[in-house]
Amino acid sequence: MSFWIDPINFVIAWLKGLLESWGLQPGLVTFVMYLIGAFVTTLLAMLLVVFLIWLERKLIGRVQDRLGPNRLGPWGIFQTFADMLKIFTKEHITPDGADGVAYNLAPVISVGAVLMVWAVIPFTATVVGVDFNAGVLYLMAVGALGEMGVILAGWGSNNKYAMLAAFRAVAQLISYEVPMVLALMIPVMFTGSMSLQALVKEQDIWFIFLAPVAALIFFISSIAEVGRTPFDLVESESELVSGFNIEYSGLKFGMFYVADFLHAFTISLLFAALYLGGWRGPGAEQYPMLGFVYFALKTAVVYFIGILMRASLPRFRIDQMMDLNWKYLTPLALVLVAATAVAGKIVPAEMAGLRLVVMLALNGIIFAAADRLMTRRRSARRQVAQAPRPVAHYVQPAPTDPGD
């Protein structure tokens, strides 16, 4: 194994040899290696956030016809470092009447829950933290811990707006877990395994082509899980001041901020791994680092689309948010799971071309039918309350007398 083909495993093997040469027990060596791996991965993820925050501010600035950060360094790229330094020097405040433990634990859990996802993501053909046959379930379980962070923040702050936001957040997160799990079941059915590495290896044809509607459902519900626009009811400024994190300031608020950005990036990673073939691409098996590049590119595309959605869509009302989930996404996902299971049995995986055509047709038909039903229902619900009237009349302004 040479350094240039697989640098990360080269370093891992070297470090392992070094530790063993010091006379440590094999079990302890494995433990220390996992510890180092976890530390490096989380460190890189946190450092990545510094760049992501800059990128997002810049992109949203461009969409809104502004420049975005542009003072510090080339293209304002060091702006986040300045913000970071400022936030580090701020005072740690625990408001009077807040529940100390819950209040201070919440930001840590929020960031930790997102970082834990990184443990199972296959970055290349050879680099993956833990690859086990419940990886997909693990993703959902860790998402549940994120909910816990929001609840703790909302309750521990001793603030009614934070509490209301926490209720909303729980309602939203639990609801959108349902279509998300159902959408995740379809790749699992194709693969016959719940390990993420196996899911990536199975994608000779990307799953987005075999299950485009499931990919769409997963994308929508994962944005809802992050709680970004158009699903940012959790922190809607007009109603809840700033949501569950209203009482937080300084570094503690910064943790929620980091968790938010990191989560948005992590769901892009997951989407790329689950539906866009992960690290797969020409030459990725021989040169694992090439797979890393493909993975990064695919993730960047998904992340970019997410940012564009955030910049261009208005916020849902709470009833619209619930309607979308329980009346459209969940039934659609249920129908899709049943139909895909039957079609997957009829057309076996060996006939790849036919399977692709059948799956595409099936998804097209189901989506068209769902769209038809949605449109019909919407027009049935819409009532004309009053004949439309002109919003404003143009009135010639009276000429002002310059003599006055």
Partner: protein, 174 residues
């Protein structure tokens, strides 16, 4: 000399038991619910130590993600969620204690008569348990298809009942 795994098990068991005691002794209801989360996490860690990653993940997903979250939300909606000022025990506190001690002693006596009681723990293999076998057993007529279907019918009934209770029926309408 205890191994690292045994030491970890002892620490984890102590934390789990402590959290379980705190669930019933905390004055604040929300704190009790949070201790419950910690106790459930300890159980998940025990599953993980046995090499059963699937069950440890399921434990976190179902018990913490769904059940504990619902308990916490329900607790936050109760009146005395911030501070409970009444006495924590009533006059008959010794009666359940006696019952519980008797039950515990009985369980230990019965279990110690069981042949496999002194067996040391066996962990699941390195690749984890076979989830596919589990899935097949759940829908196998010779396996667990009957309990599985009964459970789903029960859940469906609960869901229909919940919708019936929550439906806002207006008088003149319908």
């Amino acid at each position: 000399m205890i191994t690292g795994l045994q030491a970890f098990f002892l620490v984890n068991a102590l934390i789990t038991l402590f959290a379980a005691v705190k669930v019933v002794s905390s004055r604040k209801l929300v704190h009790a619910a949070l201790w419950l989360v910690l106790a459930l996490m300890g159980v998940a860690a025990t599953f993980a130590m046995l090499g059963s990653r699937f069950f440890s993940v399921i434990q976190v997903f179902v018990y913490i993600g769904a059940i504990a979250t619902l308990i916490i939300v329900a607790v936050m909606l109760t009146r005395n969620s911030m501070e409970d000022v009444g006495p924590q025990v009533n006059r008959g506190w010794w009666l359940p204690l006696v019952v519980v001690v008797l039950l515990f002693v009985g369980l230990v006596v019965v279990l110690s008569g069981w042949g496999d009681f002194g067996l040391s723990t066996r962990t699941v293999g390195a690749e984890g348990e076979n989830v596919m076998e589990l899935g097949k057993a759940l829908v196998d007529p010779n396996g667990f298809v009957l309990p599985f279907e009964i459970a789903s019918a029960l859940l469906l009934g609960a869901m229909v009942a919940a919708i019936y209770l929550a439906t806002d029926r207006k008088e003149g309408k319908r």
